[in-house]
C-alpha cells in the first residue's frame, strides 16, 4: 500500500538548502506548510528555512514516511543506505544522471546498487531522475519553482480535482499540470517516477484502483518491464474508472525513449492487442491523451449507464454541421450512432424553427437563431428516449446568441442527465465562450473533430460498461 507515500506523516528533504534556485531550496519551499513534519537534512547546516536540520536521515528522531533526495548522483548510494538503515518507508530520488545518461556507464551500475539496497531493506524507491509525487497539500516532491520568469504572479498549479496522472516523463507531467490549470480541470495526484528502478506505473495503477478521490487516471509511459502485470493492473483499474494510456510505440520513439528514461521497448503489437482486449483506451498522440482525460473527467461513467448511446448534433452554423458529420466518419462512427429523428420530433422542431431550416441530424438551426430557440431545440432533443448525448456547436460570432445559452446548456445537461459536449470554433471570442462553458462544467472543445473524438471515446466506454455486471 502506498498510503504513506501519498499521505505521509513525516517528510525529510535530503540535500535541503536555502540557496535560491537549488533543488533543495525549492523542494523545501514546496512542502514548508508541513511545518514540524518536515525535516531538512544537510551535513553542514544547523537550520534550513527556520527548521532544525539533521546531518543524516539517521539522526531524525521520528520515523520517516517519505524522504526526498536531491543530492548528487555520487552521494545517492550513501543516502539510500542511510534511508534503508533508518527504515524510511519511501525514498524519492529526484536526482538525475543515472541510467538515462548513456555516456555514463556508472549511472546504470549505481542504479542497480540502489535498487538492491532498497529491495533488501523494504524501503521503496521512486525515481531516480524524477519529480516524484504531487498530492497537495500532503506532499509535493517536485522542484518546480514557485515563480517563473513569465508569470510573475506565480506558477499556476491546478485546483484539487478528480484526475490522477502517472507519467514516466517529468517534463510531460509538468506540461500536463500546466495544461490542466489552463483548462480549469482539477488534479488529484501526480506521479512521475522517471527511471523507475523500483516503483513504476503498474504499482500506481494498482494503488489507484482503490483511490476514491479520483475519477479517472491518465498514464504516460515509455517502456514497460512486466507487460503481463501492467495489463492486469490496467484492466482492473479500468473496470473501476476510465484509464487512458499514452504510450509511444514506434521504433524511432523507442530509440528516443532509451536516451530519456532508459526505457526498453515492449513488443508493440502484443502490447497494443492486449490493451485492446481489456478495453483500455490508448491515445495515439499527446493531444488525444489530453482530450480523453478532459472528456472522462467531465463526463462521469454514471452518464454512460444507459441502454444505448445515440447522439444528435446541433449547431447554428451550416458549415460546421457538415464538418461535424464528416468528423464522425473519420472516427469510424457509423451513421446508425446518430439518433433517427421520429416524424413527431421533426414536426415539433419545425414548429419551433423558422421555415428555412431543414430538420436533419445533425441539425443546423441557422445563424440568426436566438439563444432561446437554441435552448428550446436542445430540450426537445434531450427529451427523446433515443437521444443520449448532444454534440453542440454554438457560434456566437453572429450576434444572435447570448450568454444565457451557456447556463441553459448546463441546466439541461443536469435536468436530463445526458452529456452535452460543446465545440466553440473560431478565434478569441470562441476561446472566451469555451471558458464560460468550462466555468459551468460543460465539456468544451475547439474544433468539430474534437466532438467526434469525445463522442467516440464515450461510446467505447459505454459499450465496455455494458459488458460489466451492473453495479460494479
Amino acid at each position: 500500500m502506498l498510503d504513506s507515500l501519498f499521505f505521509p506523516k513525516t517528510v525529510a528533504v535530503i540535500g535541503a538548502s536555502e540557496k535560491h534556485g537549488s533543488l533543495g531550496y525549492h523542494v523545501m519551499q514546496n512542502n514548508i506548510h508541513l511545518k514540524n513534519e518536515l525535516y531538512p537534512v544537510h551535513p553542514r547546516y544547523e537550520t534550513v528555512l527556520g527548521l532544525k536540520a539533521y546531518k543524516s536521515v539517521l539522526d531524525i528522531p521520528e520515523d520517516i514516511d517519505v524522504a526526498i533526495s536531491v543530492v548528487g548522483p555520487d552521494n545517492t548510494l550513501q543516502v539510500t543506505q542511510e534511508s534503508a538503515s533508518a527504515n524510511v518507508k519511501f525514498l524519492i530520488i529526484v536526482t538525475s544522471r543515472f541510467g538515462e545518461a548513456a555516456r555514463f556507464k556508472e549511472g546504470k551500475i549505481l542504479e542497480q546498487k540502489i535498487a538492491a539496497i532498497a529491495q533488501k531493506s523494504g524501503t521503496r524507491v521512486v525515481g531516480p531522475n524524477c519529480i516524484g509525487i504531487l498530492n497537495l497539500p500532503y506532499l509535493n516532491s517536485t522542484f518546480v519553482p514557485e515563480y517563473s520568469p513569465f508569470l510573475l504572479e506565480g506558477l499556476p498549479i491546478p485546483s484539487k480535482g478528480n484526475i490522477n496522472i502517472i507519467s514516466e516523463s517529468g517534463s510531460v507531467s509538468g506540461l500536463l499540470t500546466a495544461w490542466l490549470t489552463e483548462q480549469g480541470l482539477g488534479l488529484n495526484k501526480l506521479v512521475n517516477y522517471g527511471n523507475g528502478i523500483d516503483l513504476v506505473s503498474t504499482d500506481f495503477m494498482e494503488y489507484f484502483q482503490n483511490d476514491s478521490d479520483c475519477d479517472i487516471v491518465g498514464v504516460y509511459v515509455e517502456g514497460i518491464r512486466n507487460g503481463r502485470k501492467f495489463i492486469e493492473a490496467a484492466k482492473k483499474l479500468n473496470e473501476k474508472k476510465p484509464l487512458i494510456i499514452l504510450k509511444p510505440g514506434s521504433e524511432l520513439a523507442s530509440k528516443a525513449a532509451q536516451s530519456h528514461t532508459g526505457s526498453v521497448a515492449t513488443n508493440e503489437a502484443i502490447f497494443g492487442a492486449a490493451l485492446k482486449q481489456v478495453h483500455v483506451q490508448r491515445a495515439q498522440t499527446y493531444g488525444e491523451f489530453c482530450s480523453a482525460v478532459k472528456t472522462h473527467s467531465m463526463i462521469s461513467d454514471k452518464y454512460l449507464r444507459r441502454d444505448h448511446f445515440f447522439c444528435a448534433g446541433i449547431t447554428n452554423a451550416g458549415g460546421l454541421k457538415v464538418l461535424l458529420a464528416e468528423s464522425l466518419r473519420q472516427h469510424n462512427i457509423p451513421e446508425s450512432a446518430l439518433s433517427e429523428f421520429s416524424p413527431e420530433l421533426v414536426e415539433e422542431l419545425e414548429k419551433i424553427l423558422p421555415s428555412n431550416v431543414t430538420v436533419t441530424n445533425p441539425l443546423d438551426i441557422i445563424g440568426d437563431a436566438s439563444s432561446e430557440t437554441y435552448s428550446k431545440v436542445m430540450e426537445q432533443l434531450l427529451r427523446q428516449g433515443t437521444i443520449d448525448c448532444l454534440l453542440s456547436i454554438p457560434t456566437f460570432e453572429p450576434a444572435s446568441l447570448r450568454e444565457e445559452l451557456v447556463k441553459d446548456t448546463a441546466r439541461l445537461m443536469l435536468k436530463y442527465g445526458k452529456p452535452i459536449i460543446i465545440a466553440s470554433v473560431g478565434g478569441e471570442l470562441a476561446r472566451i465562450i469555451r471558458d464560460k462553458f468550462q466555468k459551468v462544467y460543460v465539456l468544451n472543445f475547439e474544433k468539430p473533430e474534437d466532438l467526434a473524438f469525445a463522442y467516440q471515446i464515450l461510446r467505447e466506454r459505454h459499450q465496455f460498461l455494458s459488458t460489466l455486471p451492473s453495479g460494479s
Copy 2:
C-alpha cells in the same frame, strides 16, 4: 476577370438601411469609407447614412461594378432584372431562403430564374445565401456587425496579409477570419459564394492564379458541379502557390451539405484520386485545414527549393522528444527523413552539451539547458548541409530558458534560410510563448503532433516543387 469584383470603383447596396441590426445597415456601415463611390438603394429613403439614396439601381447615374443585394428572396428576382438592365458587373446576393431551404420548392425555382437572367445579361452573380467578398479596404459585402456582445472593443478583423480564403460556407468563412485574427495571421481576400448559382470556387481559383497579393489559397467546398474544371483550376493554382482544400466527403456530410448550401455530392473516390494526382493538398479536418493554411502562409515556397528536406528535432524536454518521434510515424514520415548526425556533428554537440545528454535525432538537450545552449545547438544543426528544417519544442516551464530564445530562433531561421517550426506545449505560459514566436514570425503550434503534420505537408510540397521546372 474578376478585378472589378475585388477592386470595384462603384458599389451599390440594394436594401440599404439605417435600421441598426439590419443587413442593409451593416453592409452600408462596412463600406461607408468608400464615400462617394457607395450608392445606397431603397425605394422609400431619400438618404441612408448621409448618402443620397436611389429608388433602384437603374437610377444611379454611374456604372456600377458591384451591387450587393440584401432584399428579401421575393424581391430578389426584380433586383436581378434591374441590375442586369443597368449593366451591373457583379451582383452579390446576400439574401438566403433559396435552394438551401428544402421546405421551399420556390427557392430552387427562383434561383434558376435569377441564374438565367444573369447568364443572358452578362451580370455575374455571387450567392445567394452568402456573405460575399471581403477585400479590405476595397470591398466588404459582409453583414458581420462591428460589435459583438462579447468583444465590446469591436469584432476583430485580421490584418491585411497573404492568405486568400474561398469558402462555400458563410459561417466557416467567418470563423476562419476570427481564427486568423487570433493567430496573428493576415488575410488578403475572403470569398463566400453560398449557393453559388453562378460564380463558384473554380472561378475564384482561376482568378487567384494571377493574384500576386496572396501567397496561399485555402478552399472550403461542400459540393462541386464541374469536377474536371475544378481539378484543372486547382492544379494550375497549386503550381503557383500552395492550395489547401477542405472538402467533406462522407455520405453523411453530403446529406448535411444538401440542406446547407444545396450542394450535390461529387464522386468521392474519383475526386480524391484526381486531387492527389495533381498534388493538391487536401485537409481531412477543420483543424488540419487551419494548420496547413498557417504553415504555408508562414513558410514560403522559397524555403522548399532545395535538393532535400531532411529534418532534425530539438527540445529540452525528454518526453516531448519521444512524442515527437512517435508523431512522425503517425504521419507516415519515414525514419530516413530525419537527418543522420555525422560523427563530427555528434562530437561538436557533445562539446556544447552537458555530459548527461545523449546526442540523437531528435535531440533532448535536457531541462536545465540555458537559452544560450539551445541557440548554440540550433545553430550547429542549421549549419549542416544535411539538415533542412528544425522541429523545435522549447519548454519554458523549467525556468532556465529565457525570452532571448524567441528572437534567436527568428534570427537563425533568416540567417540560414531554413524553416524552424516550434511547438510550445503546456498551458497558459505555453500560449504566451507561442504568441511571442508569432510576433517574430516563427511558425508555432501547440502539440508535438502538430510539428509532424507541418513537416509532412512541407515535405510533400518540397517533393512536388522538385517535379516542376525550376523558376516556375
